[in-house]
C-alpha cells in the first residue's frame, strides 16, 4: 500500500529543496492544510474520547461531578461473581451476535444465490430485497415490535387459525425475546451480506463452472467447490464487519425490549448505556465499554490490514 498510495506527479511545481521539504515531503504545507480538518475532527472526537474513556474507566464519576480515582474498582465490580450483570450481558451479547451472524450468513447466501439467477425484473427484485438496509434501525425495530405485538399480524394469524388460545407475548419471556430480537436484527442486516455476496459471485470466473459441469459436478457440488471457495475472502470481511456492527448496535434492543425481560436481552453496549446515562455512573459505564475493546481491537486490526491490502 505504501508506494501506491500517492503516486507523485512528475511536474511538481517549484521544486526548491530546503530542510522542511526534505523531512516533511515536497508538498507538506498544502498537504497538511488539506488533511488538517479531517485529522482534527478525528483526533478530537474519536481518538481523544477513546483515551478519555480509558481514564474514565478507572474513576468513580457521576454526571455533572468531578471524578475520583478508584483504580481497578470498576472492573473488579464487573467480574465480582459469575452471576454479575456483566457476565450475564457478555453471554447475551455472544448469543445474540452469534445467532444473528450465523442466520445472516445462511439467509444472505441463499438470497444472493437466488438473485444471481436469471430472473425477470432482477434489478427490481434486488432493489426490494435491499430495502431493509436503507431503513433507520429505529423504524425497523418499531415495525417489528408491532409485528410481534398482540395486535400484530403474527398473533393475528395465530388467533385466526386457532393455533393457541392465548396471545404470545414475545417480549415477556426470555426464551422468546432473544430469538425474536435475532429475527429483527437479521431482517435489517441481511441485505448487506447479500449485496457483498452478489458482488463476489460476479467476480468468480464462469469458466470454472463450465469446466466443473463437463466433469459432471451437479449444482450443489459446484456451489460447494467453486462458489464457496471463491467467496471466501468476501465472506471473511463481511462476517467481521457485521460482527462488529451487530454486537455494538444497541438500537434494536433499546426499542424492542429495553433490555428486558429481567435483563435477558441486555447486551454489553446496552448495559454500558444503562449504567452511564440513566444510571449516571460514567466511570462504571466506561469500564463496561472498555471490556469490549480487546475483542474489537483484534477484529479491527485484522480488517484494517485486509482492507488496505485489497486497496
Amino acid at each position: 500500500m505504501a508506494d501506491t498510495l500517492a503516486r507523485p506527479l512528475k511536474a511538481t511545481p517549484g521544486a526548491r529543496s530546503s530542510t522542511p521539504r526534505r523531512v516533511l515531503g515536497p508538498e507538506w504545507q498544502l498537504g497538511w492544510l488539506l488533511v488538517a480538518p479531517v485529522v482534527i475532527i478525528v483526533s478530537a472526537l474519536l481518538i481523544y474520547p477513546f483515551f478519555d474513556a480509558i481514564l474514565l474507566s478507572f474513576q468513580e464519576r457521576f454526571i455533572g461531578k468531578t471524578g475520583t480515582w478508584v483504580g481497578l474498582a470498576n472492573y473488579a465490580d464487573l467480574f465480582s461473581s459469575t452471576s454479575s450483570p456483566w457476565v450475564k450481558a457478555l453471554i447475551t451479547t455472544l448469543v445474540v451476535t452469534g445467532g444473528a451472524i450465523a442466520s445472516k450468513f445462511v439467509i444472505g447466501m441463499a438470497m444472493a444465490c437466488v438473485l444471481n439467477q436469471d430472473l425477470p425484473a432482477r434489478n427490481v427484485l434486488r432493489g426490494i430485497m435491499f430495502l431493509p438496509w436503507a431503513v433507520p434501525a429505529v423504524v425497523a425495530a418499531y415495525v417489528w415490535r408491532f409485528m410481534f405485538d398482540t395486535t400484530g399480524p403474527i398473533n393475528g394469524a395465530i388467533a385466526n387459525f386457532g393455533l393457541r388460545d392465548d396471545y404470545i407475548y414475545f417480549f415477556n419471556d426470555a426464551r422468546l425475546a432473544v430469538p425474536a430480537l435475532i429475527v429483527v436484527i437479521v431482517w435489517a442486516g441481511t441485505p448487506f451480506w447479500t449485496m457483498n455476496f452478489l458482488a463476489g459471485m460476479q467476480a468468480i470466473s464462469q469458466e470454472l463452472y463450465e469446466a466443473a459441469e463437463i466433469d459432471g459436478a451437479n449444482t450443489w457440488r459446484r456451489f460447494l467447490h467453486i462458489t464457496l471457495p471463491g467467496l471466501q475472502p468476501v465472506i471473511l470481511v463481511t462476517a467481521l464487519l457485521s460482527t462488529i456492527w451487530t454486537s455494538a448496535n444497541l438500537t434494536p434492543i433499546f426499542v424492542l425490549t429495553n433490555g428486558g425481560p429481567n435483563y435477558a436481552t441486555t447486551t454489553l453496549p446496552l448495559l454500558s448505556y444503562f449504567t452511564a446515562i440513566p444510571g449516571h455512573q460514567l466511570g462504571a459505564g466506561a469500564a463496561i465499554a472498555m471490556t469490549m475493546v480487546p475483542f474489537y481491537l483484534v477484529l479491527v486490526l485484522f480488517l484494517t490490514r485486509r482492507m488496505l491490502r485489497q486497496e
Binding site: 498510495l5 515531503g25 430485497m129 436503507a134 415495525v143
Partner: protein
C-alpha cells in the same frame, strides 16, 4: 468503484453467458427451489413494510378491536395528529443535522482524500491507516466520553452538538471512498493542468471533483443516510423535546401503557421515507459504493 466501472462491459458479457450456462445446468428441482425461495424472501422483506403502511391508514378501531387486514377506507387521522405535535420539529432537526453533517463530510473528505492520494508529505500513510481504523470503531465505545466532551464545550442538548459529532461517523468513510476513486483518475490530466499553470486547488476543483461526480453522489447519500438514521449519539446528547432528532423522537411517542400504533407507524413511515427514496433513486451507485467501501474484491 473505478474497478467496477471498468469491469462493467466485461461483466455484462459474462452475465449473458452465465445465463446460458445457468439454464443448461440447473435441474428442474433447483428451478422450483429458486422460485419458492424467491417468494419466501420477497414476503419476508416486504410484509413488515406493508404492515406498517396499512396500519398508518387504519383507524384505531381497526387496529385494536376489529384486527382487520385491510383498512375499509384510507384514514389519515394519524398523520394529521402527528404533524400537529412535535414531529415536525424533530423532522426539521434531523434534516438540519443531516444536511450540515453531509456538507461538512463531503467538503473536508474531498480535501483530505485529495491530499492523501496526490500530495507527497510526511504522515499521510499514518493518516490513511488511521481513517480505516477509526471507521471501524463502534459508537458504543465512544458515546460516554463524547457525552463529556460535548458537555465540556457547553453544547449539551443542542442540535449543534450533533452537527459536530456526526462527521465522526461519516467523515472517515467519505474520505476513504473518495480516496479510492481519486486514485482511478488519470494523472496525465492533472499534470497537463499543472503545466498549464493551474495550482493544486484548481486541479482539485476543476478536474478531480467534476470527474468524481458518481463518487460524490454516493458519499452524499451515505453521509445523509447515516446521519439521518443515527440513534445512539442523539439519544445521549439531546434530552429535551425541542432538540430531538426524529429517530429519538419516535421513541418518545409511546404512551405509558396504551400503544399508539397507528400514529407510530405513520411516524415510522415518514422517518424512513428520505433515506429510502434516496436509496431507490441512486440504487446502483449506492450498491457499488458500498461494495468498494466495505468489501473490495
Amino acid at each position: 468503484m473505478a474497478v467496477a466501472a471498468q469491469a462493467a462491459p466485461r461483466a455484462r458479457g459474462r452475465s449473458k453467458r452465465s445465463t446460458r450456462a445457468g439454464r443448461r445446468a440447473i435441474g428442474r428441482g433447483w428451478v422450483i427451489a429458486t422460485w419458492v425461495a424467491l417468494a419466501v424472501f420477497v414476503l419476508w422483506t416486504v410484509i413488515p413494510f406493508i404492515w406498517m403502511i396499512l396500519a398508518s391508514v387504519k383507524t384505531n378501531r381497526e387496529i385494536y378491536d376489529d384486527f382487520t387486514l385491510l383498512p375499509k377506507t384510507l384514514y389519515f387521522g394519524h398523520y394529521v395528529s402527528l404533524l400537529g405535535g412535535k414531529f415536525g420539529i424533530w423532522m426539521r432537526n434531523s434534516a438540519e443535522v443531516s444536511i450540515a453533517a453531509t456538507a461538512l463530510s463531503i467538503t473536508l473528505g474531498a480535501c483530505g482524500a485529495y491530499a492523501i492520494t496526490r500530495l507527497r508529505f510526511a504522515g499521510r500513510r499514518v493518516i490513511a491507516l488511521g481513517l480505516v481504523f477509526t471507521y471501524l470503531v463502534p459508537q458504543s465505545l465512544l458515546f460516554i466520553p463524547l457525552f463529556q466532551v460535548v458537555a465540556g464545550l457547553g453544547l449539551s442538548d443542542t442540535v449543534g452538538a450533533l452537527i459536530l459529532v456526526y462527521p465522526t461517523i461519516t467523515l472517515p468513510f467519505c474520505t476513504w471512498l473518495l480516496m479510492s476513486y481519486f486514485k482511478s483518475i488519470p494523472l496525465e490530466l492533472e499534470e497537463a493542468a499543472l503545466i498549464d499553470g493551474c495550482n493544486r486547488l484548481g486541479v482539485l476543483v476543476r478536474i478531480v471533483l467534476p470527474l468524481s461526480t458518481p463518487a460524490l453522489v454516493v458519499v452524499c447519500l451515505f453521509s445523509f443516510t447515516q446521519a439521518w438514521n443515527e440513534f445512539l449519539y442523539a439519544l445521549v446528547i439531546t434530552n429535551s423535546l425541542a432538540t430531538r432528532t426524529v429517530t429519538v423522537g419516535l421513541t418518545q411517542m409511546l404512551g405509558e401503557d396504551v400503544f399508539y400504533w397507528g400514529q407510530m407507524m405513520a411516524g415510522a413511515l415518514i422517518t424512513a421515507l428520505p433515506p429510502v427514496l434516496m436509496y431507490t433513486l441512486a440504487q446502483r451507485l449506492v450498491i457499488k459504493g458500498l461494495i468498494v467501501g466495505g468489501v473490495k474484491g
